[in-house]
């Protein structure tokens, strides 16, 4: 209060001494702003004004319409300072040790300025300073940049006046500047903007229309983080990945093609082979980075390979040491197999055994195209040659050779002739070329081969026989001839011998009609000759039911069954009788083929202990006669014994009686008398009656 009181007293003194001077001073532009007040360059908020410091002392008065507006229209005759005159001192005075403003000290006229259009008699500012002091000229709006159109939210609009506009106010934004140039800075509200500008010097105003667009978000500067690879050798078509800490904006590279977004980008070749200094530039932060590489020439691109074929094909039988050929459409690169050994190059490869006998699942893998293929086979054991028949020597042109293997040989091929067969037995058939033959036999299971050497003879044909037909004797010798060596010769009857082209067939032959078949190997020929074998030998005894010289012959048995004599040929007629002491017993002989049976008549039973003789003649159908004599002796008659008394058993030596009883389990038990038994039987009769 004391200070306020001092200020009030001081103001009253000043006002009383120089009211007119004071009044003229406050209308002058302030050339020396006082300490603590805003300078001309200082920003004043949009709702405020750019004021002369001497005019702002009472906030309550600021709410009233500014007098400058009425002054502009020339109806107000008093300067603002007068109306706000409750403040009797400029701010400088509040702080000042000097009680007068400097401007006031410079006023030497001692007279108040005259308001040009003041008709009220009150003190006014005038357009022309007649007091000799400089006047503030009326400012008019000259230009704006931008003057209209789209602006950003934080746009800075520069406006120009022809003179200093004094205090400039705007309805939005912030005014700054001095002299004839002011800037109006955002932020402005997005959308349509009508910017109203008012200024004090000349009390002017201006309206500008804009469209405020949303500002792009502020992008931070980007710095290079890393590259992969960061250096060293790269391929012609390498892709280099680069990273930034922020979005680099637009990126350009000295070589290659850049693409990407955000913080991660790639630079793709092709790059020139050799040393490469790769410069990367980007807009956000206006950065650049140089990377050094050595670009190596790319390997030629190899197309993927796909499996084409296999031979033998999947599903076939193969041998343990089979060679499987596989083909690809392109070079498969590295090839591996699940079993066997693979080798090859280009598109054709081979897989060699040994493979395990049995079912084989063979997996083939290759690198170009990362492919794989599974083939299934049945692996058969390798076959080895066992034998041949004939194994060597002569064979005929159209002969055949039988060969044997220890296992199924698979496919068999021969150098000459025709091979057929299955399993382990095969036949090689001619024709073969006459002469020396090296016959090579090859087979797949085990990939084996065998060479057999032969002399191939021309096929033989039957030429002649002597005799060729007709009657021959039982011991006839038949001569046969061939045009070539017949090889091995066989006949259906008789004995064949010979060599070369001439052979003989010797008897004995069976009497009667003879169909003689001759077969030979060279040419696999056969010939049939027909003869009538004349019978020239008498029938001979083959067997007799009562052998010649037999003794102990049971007369009862012989009497009951008769005597049977078998000859070696069919008997045509017989004159055989049974004699006892050269007396015909009366038995009769009958013929059946080769057999003569002599049987008794009534009352003609043989006696015991007697020698008999069968004698007489037999003839075959060819009247070849043989004299027969068979003697035998019957056994003695048995001694007649008195039967033993009851309970005395049987005599030693008699045939043991058979019987059938039950065993102790109730099963039937039969005793067969033990004739032909394997052991002696001890029969114990006992009394138990348990």
């Amino acid at each position: 209060m004391k200070i306020l009181y001092i200020i009030s007293i001081t103001f009253l003194i000043v006002f009383a001494v120089g009211c007119d001077e004071m009044q003229s001073q406050v209308m002058k532009p302030m050339t020396m702003p006082e300490e603590g007040g805003p300078t001309e360059d200082e920003v004043v908020t949009s709702v405020g004004t750019m004021k002369d410091p001497s005019m702002t002392t009472d906030d309550s008065k600021e709410e009233e319409p500014p007098e400058t507006e009425t002054m502009e229209e020339g109806t107000s005759t008093e300067p603002e300072t007068m109306e706000e005159g409750t403040s009797t001192e400029p701010e400088t005075m509040e702080e000042g040790t000097s009680t007068e403003p400097e401007t006031m000290e410079e006023d030497t006229s001692g007279e108040p300025e005259t308001m040009e259009e003041d008709t009220s008699g009150e003190t006014q500012t005038t357009e022309e300073d007649t007091s000799g002091e400089p006047e503030t000229p009326v400012a008019t709006f000259s230009s704006a940049s931008p003057a209209s159109g789209d602006i950003s939210e934080n746009e800075t609009i520069t406006i120009e006046f022809d003179n200093d506009p004094g205090e400039v106010t705007v309805n939005t934004g912030t005014v700054s500047g001095s002299g004839t140039s002011r800037t109006i800075s955002g932020p402005f509200t997005e959308g349509s903007l009508t910017l109203e500008i008012s200024w004090t010097n000349g009390n002017g105003s201006k309206t500008l229309d804009y469209t405020v667009e949303e500002d792009e978000p502020q992008i931070s500067d980007a710095t290079f983080s890393n590259a992969t690879p960061t250096s060293g050798n790269i391929s012609e078509n390498e892709t280099i990945t680069i990273e930034f800490d922020n979005d680099p904006g637009e990126i350009t590279v000295s070589e290659g093609t850049v693409s990407g977004s955000g913080t991660s980008w790639t630079i793709s070749g092709p790059f020139s082979v050799g040393s490469l200094t790769l410069t990367i530039s980007w807009t956000n932060g206006n950065g650049s980075k140089t990377l050094d590489y050595t670009v190596e020439e790319d390997e030629p691109e190899i197309p993927d390979a796909t499996f084409s074929s296999a031979s033998p094909a999947s599903g076939d039988d193969i041998s343990e040491n089979e060679t499987i050929t596989i083909n690809f459409d392109n070079d498969p690169g590295e090839v591996t197999v699940s079993e066997g050994t693979v080798s090859g190059s280009g598109t054709s490869w081979t897989i060699n055994g040994p493979f395990s006998v049995g079912s084989l699942t063979l997996t083939i893998s290759w690198t170009n195209g990362n492919g794989s293929k599974t083939l299934n086979y049945n692996v058969e054991a390798d076959a080895a040659f066992s034998s041949a028949s004939p194994a060597s020597g002569n064979i005929s042109e159209n002969g055949s050779i039988t060969i044997e293997f220890d296992n199924d040989p698979g496919e068999v091929t021969v150098s000459e002739g025709t091979v057929s067969g299955s399993g382990t037995t095969w036949t090689i058939s001619g024709p073969f070329t006459e002469g020396s033959l090296a016959l090579t036999i090859s087979w797949t299971n085990g990939n084996g081969s065998k060479t057999l050497n032969y002399n191939v003879e021309a096929d033989a044909s039957f030429s002649s026989a002597s005799p060729a037909s007709g009657d021959i004797s039982e011991n006839e010798t038949i001569t046969i001839n061939f045009d070539n060596d017949p090889g091995e010769v066989t006949v259906s009857e008789g004995t064949v011998s010979g060599s070369g082209t001439s052979w003989t067939i010797s008897g004995p032959f069976s009497a009667g009609s003879l169909t003689l078949t001759i077969s030979w190997t060279n040419g696999n020929g056969s010939k049939t000759l027909n003869y009538n074998v004349e019978d020239s030998t008498p029938p001979e005894v083959s067997t007799s039911s009562t052998a010649d010289g037999a003794v102990d012959v049971d007369p009862t048995t012989v009497s009951n069954s008769g005597i049977t004599i078998t000859f070696n040929e069919t008997i045509g007629s017989v004159e055989l009788k049974l004699y006892k002491d050269d007396v015909d017993v009366g038995w009769t002989a009958t013929i059946s083929g080769k057999t003569i049976t002599i049987t008794k008549g009534s009352g003609q039973e043989l006696s015991h202990d007697t020698m008999y003789e069968i004698k007489g003649t037999v003839k075959d159908s060819a009247e070849n006669e043989n004299v027969v004599s068979i003697t035998f002796t019957t056994k003695s008659a048995p001694v007649q014994l008195q039967p033993l008394a009851r309970g005395e058993g049987l005599r030693i030596g008699v045939t043991a009686p058979t019987f059938s009883v039950k065993d102790s389990d109730g099963n039937d038990y039969s005793f067969d008398g033990n004739s032909g038994g394997s052991s002696n039987i001890v029969i114990v009769f006992y009394r138990y009656r348990g």
Binding site: G653, D665, N680, V682, F685, Y688
Partner: protein, 100 residues
């Protein structure tokens, strides 16, 4: 007899015992004496009569007797016994060993 059966077997004999007892009796004897050779029940006296060993004065029982039947089907040895005198096993073994 059972005690010497092995000796009889060793001498080449196969033992058969026959009585006129029924199956039950025969079975009882086999079980009682643990016999391992064949015991036959000849209630019909078929075998007893065939070998002429019906007991004198009793048509229901056999006279104690032994016959050895050779492998040719003939009787090679016999022993006719009484109630008080029986052929011993050693006799049978000796007979078996003495056969032709």
């Amino acid at each position: 007899m059972q005690e010497n059966y092995d000796d009889i077997s060793a001498a080449g004999g196969s033992l058969i015992a026959i009585s006129s007892d029924g199956i039950t009796g025969a079975k009882g004897m086999v079980d009682d004496q643990s016999l391992t050779f064949t015991v036959l029940s000849d209630t019909g006296k078929t075998a007893i009569s065939a070998y002429n060993v019906l007991a004198s004065g009793n048509d229901n029982i056999a006279r104690p007797s032994v016959f050895i039947i050779k492998t040719d089907g003939t009787i090679g040895w016999k022993s006719l016994d009484s109630q008080t005198s029986r052929t011993t096993s050693s006799d049978i073994v000796s007979a078996l060993e003495g056969l032709d």
